[in-house]
Amino acid sequence: MSTLKAQPRLYSSRESILTLKAHLSGKQAKIPKNPTMEDYITYIKKLSNRLKQGPLDFWIPNVFRRLIQVIRLMSSEDGFFPIKDKEKNFKELGLTILRKSIRSKTTVETGSETGSNAIQQDVILPSIEQVLEELEAHSDDINTFASTHFFTNEVLLVYEYSTTVLNFLLSAKKTRNFEIIVLESETENLGKQFATDLGKHNLNVTLTPFTNAYAIMQRVNKTLLGVDAILKNGGLLMHPGTYAICVLAKQFAVPVIVLSGAHKLTPKYAFDQTTFNQLVSPLKINPNSTIDHMSIGITFDYVPPEYISLYITNQGQYTPQSIYQLFSDFYNVKDEDI
């Protein structure tokens, strides 16, 4: 089992953007002679369809949606888009300045159908760069936001391996003391790896099996979770077992805080555990399964929004009831069918 589990999501998103860049620069893309913005957008949509690794792959379409939104923003006629609240960082401001400078270089109107190839590349390539930057720098922003929520000498509960949570804990350790309890999942063996990684940096770590969750939850102050996908209704998709933890946390009034990069926002709705799910081999859960005594393996657990207290993303902090606002900024409604 590979040790870096959360990494592949980011990895696949970044790889797909890089392939798009390679296609455009290597002129492999099948784009008509005088391409307009719409042609580029349809090409990107087709590419995301082709690179997608199955119906449960959310991360590649997410990043392409973000790219299309950035392209639209960059080439819109009025280059001004309002900065919503103070917490949005100055990056957005930097973007407007960048765009204005680009526009001042060119002489022909942008965003119209008669733009030449080079100009389109001037819009698209910078937007690709911006998206890549967002992907790589997401954990810094999360760390700054999240550090305001934790106090000294708190007991935090973590579940299985998550790179985002790991980065946050390592950066928060510099300023305050706390104790971490790592809960191991029944199906994967990454809890131990997580505990050793944290222990290398002299953190106070305890590793417990999953069956201990009920006993431990009474003594925990906060729960920190990584995530696989954030849905538009505020729900979560995560490693199997998360739902049980969230239900327990609500029972004991422990707040559940979710850390993630914004590339995990997926504009879809789920209703129950089976909407975005797939049955895998029983041998993954229990290697001694036979036909008569079988385990059932699933890919995701869906957690409804009632069980979550706060989402911390690199674009800001939101409650599950209000995270839809972020979707409308981050993506465009027209692109939700990728």
Partner: protein, 592 residues
């Protein structure tokens, strides 16, 4: 990997599926939703191996590939090589060598393997080992699990780095481990590991040297028994080495040796053990049930079943752990338990099919070799003979292209000359039997005659009675002896529907020969439990109503006492039942 060939040995050289493999080779067996060989080609193309060589022995494979049209993104290049006059897999490999297509490495696959092992790591390990030592010629892929079948029971003795030191069959009485090179010193880690939780998967990655050595040693017939054994036992002379690749626990494979492993593999495929090679998601209903056809609301389908496309399942059908192919029609009230039905099968109402494999094109109607069985809740069920799981007789292979489109198995009325032959046979049999054990042989003889010539019970009873009554003498003792001798035979063949002709034949005999008394026959029949009380009383009442018959009147008079005796018995039985209270509680078996 443009030079990497996959070689499929598309036929088996054993007799396990003997009746079926006379017509269709094992690779063309349907496996849940597709043929076995299609599953293998799909697996190979997902692992990026596009050049396939199929070694075949049966012409049907060539026909199949000539007519094969599969739309898809990748097209595989498939070559067919004929190995018609080969008697073992060794011969097949020699034939392959003589064609000279294979230059370097190739993958050898048996034709009955279903698997989800990912070949990327396997091939990498093979190439690494080739770089280390040119003498590593064979990489055998095994997976971890519990050894279930006799063909899988082997003991693997491994050295460091998974090199195979010895492979022994666990079915022998003694297991000898080549101890020459094993030295144990205290405190040192032991160099050899003995494992019995490995199962070979039928996938081998070989070098061209393997083919060469098959060519050199002409007596090699099998890969495992001969070649690998030879290489491992003579490892001090030879330098060739064989290694194992042990796959992670998620990746399994299953070989289809015989009927039980066939059924097991189908159920594993349905339960998603070979993820990501599973039946299509759009057919998934519930706990591992896949419905691609129409199923009526009132029928009960258990877990782990598959209903093929265009199949019509009528009401009140119970299906348990079975696989039904395409275009089948199941009538009302059928029960199908632990069976595999192929395509285009029509099953009539109220038939039980249990532990069987039924090949394409059958029509199963109500009168195949059936016995009429009545159960307490008054349901007449015609039961197909249920077979043991490993029995050779468990296969009914009626291929539709042999007979003219549909082969209906009805009972035929025997013709006149058949009747005559039966009577002669019966006379022979009766005349020769003097002891009880000979009577038992006679029962089996008559059974085979009945089955072979499809004769009804009635005719047998009539013929037998004719022969039997000929041997009697007008003496009470001889009657008693004769009945005592033939009791089992008569009970076997005279059941409730044949009592009429049984009594009729005795009656006609007694009418013709006045020395015999019908009454005595009836009493003896009752004593040996051939006839029940009610039947005799009915018959006596019936005889009483016949007018103008001297014989009948005599009979009625002489049997008066017997009749009263029987009536008393019936009264006693009724009284006993009433005393027991409410009697039995009749359950109706309630399905959920």
């Amino acid at each position: 990997m443009s030079e990497f060939y996959a070689v499929i040995l598309a036929d088996s050289y054993d007799n396990q599926f003997n009746h079926l493999t006379n017509n269709i080779p094992k690779s063309l067996f349907p496996f849940v939703d597709d043929l076995i060989i299609e599953h293998q080609i799909n697996w190979l193309s997902k692992n990026e191996i596009d050049q396939i060589i199929v070694l075949y022995r049966n012409e049907k494979i060539a026909e199949y590939f000539n007519n094969r049209r599969r739309p898809g993104r990748k097209t595989q290049k498939i070559q067919l090589i004929n190995i018609l006059d080969s008697k073992s897999s060794g011969d097949a490999l020699r034939e392959l060598y003589s064609h000279g297509i294979i230059q370097q490495d190739f993958l050898l696959l048996f034709g009955d393997v279903i698997t989800n092992i990912s070949l990327k790591e396997v091939i990498n390990k093979y190439h690494d080992q080739r770089k280390e030592d040119k003498m590593n010629i064979l990489l055998m892929v095994v997976h971890q699990g519990i050894q279930q079948y006799d063909e899988e029971r082997y003991l693997y003795v491994l050295e460091s780095d998974d090199k195979l030191f010895q492979l022994t069959d666990l079915q022998q009485k003694q297991i000898i481990i080549n101890k020459k090179h094993i030295t144990l010193t205290k405190g040192m880690p032991c160099k050899y590991v003995i494992r019995s939780n490995l199962i070979e998967s039928g996938i081998y990655i070989c070098n061209r040297d393997v083919l060469k050595s098959f060519q050199e040693y002409f007596m090699f017939a099998e890969i495992k028994e001969d070649f690998i054994k030879y290489m491992t036992t003579t490892s001090d002379i030879q330098e060739e080495k064989i290694h194992l690749y042990i796959s992670p626990k998620i990746q399994v494979s299953q070989r289809i040796f015989h009927a039980q492993s066939y059924h097991n593999a189908c159920l594993k495929y349905l339960s998603r053990f070979f993820f990501p090679y599973c039946p299509q998601q759009q057919y998934y209903v519930d706990f591992f049930k896949y419905f691609a056809g129409r199923v009526d609301q009132k029928s009960k389908i258990s877990d782990q079943c598959f209903i093929g496309q265009n199949t019509d399942v009528k009401q009140k059908v119970t299906i348990t752990k079975s696989i039904i192919g395409k275009n089948c029609k199941l009538g009302i009230g059928c029960e199908i338990i632990n069976s595999i039905l192929w395509d285009n099968i029509e099953v009539d109402d109220n038939i039980i099919i249990k532990d069987s494999i039924i090949a394409s094109g059958c029509k199963i109607k109500n009168s195949i070799q059936s016995q009429i069985v009545t159960i307490e809740n008054q349901k007449n069920v015609k039961q197909l003979l249920s077979f043991q799981k490993y029995d050779d007789n468990a296969f009914q292979s009626e291929n539709s292209d042999q007979e003219s489109d549909s082969h209906e198995l009805h009972q035929k009325k025997p013709k006149e000359n058949d009747d005559q032959g039966l009577k002669e046979d019966m006379i022979d049999i009766v005349a020769n039997c003097k002891t009880v054990s000979q009577v038992k042989e006679a029962i089996t003889n008559v059974d085979t005659i009945k089955v072979n010539s499809n004769i009804a019970f009635e005719n047998i009873v009539i013929a037998f009675m004719a022969a039997f009554l000929d041997t009697l003498q007008p003496d009470v003792d001889s009657l008693k002896n004769a009945y005592a001798l033939w009791e089992e035979f008569i009970i076997r063949f005279v059941s409730e529907t044949e009592v009429v002709c049984y009594i009729k034949s005795i009656e006609t005999f007694c009418r013709q020969n006045q020395q015999y008394h019908l009454n005595q026959f009836l009493q003896l029949s009752y004593k040996h439990q051939i006839l029940s009380e009610q039947v005799i009383i009915n018959y006596q009442n019936q005889m009483a109503t016949i007018e103008d018959d001297q014989f009948a009147k005599d009979f009625v008079q002489s049997s008066q006492q017997f009749k009263e005796y029987l009536e008393n018995i019936i009264l006693e039985q009724e009284q006993q039942q009433n005393q027991e209270g409410d009697g039995e509680y009749e359950y109706e078996y309630v399905y959920e």
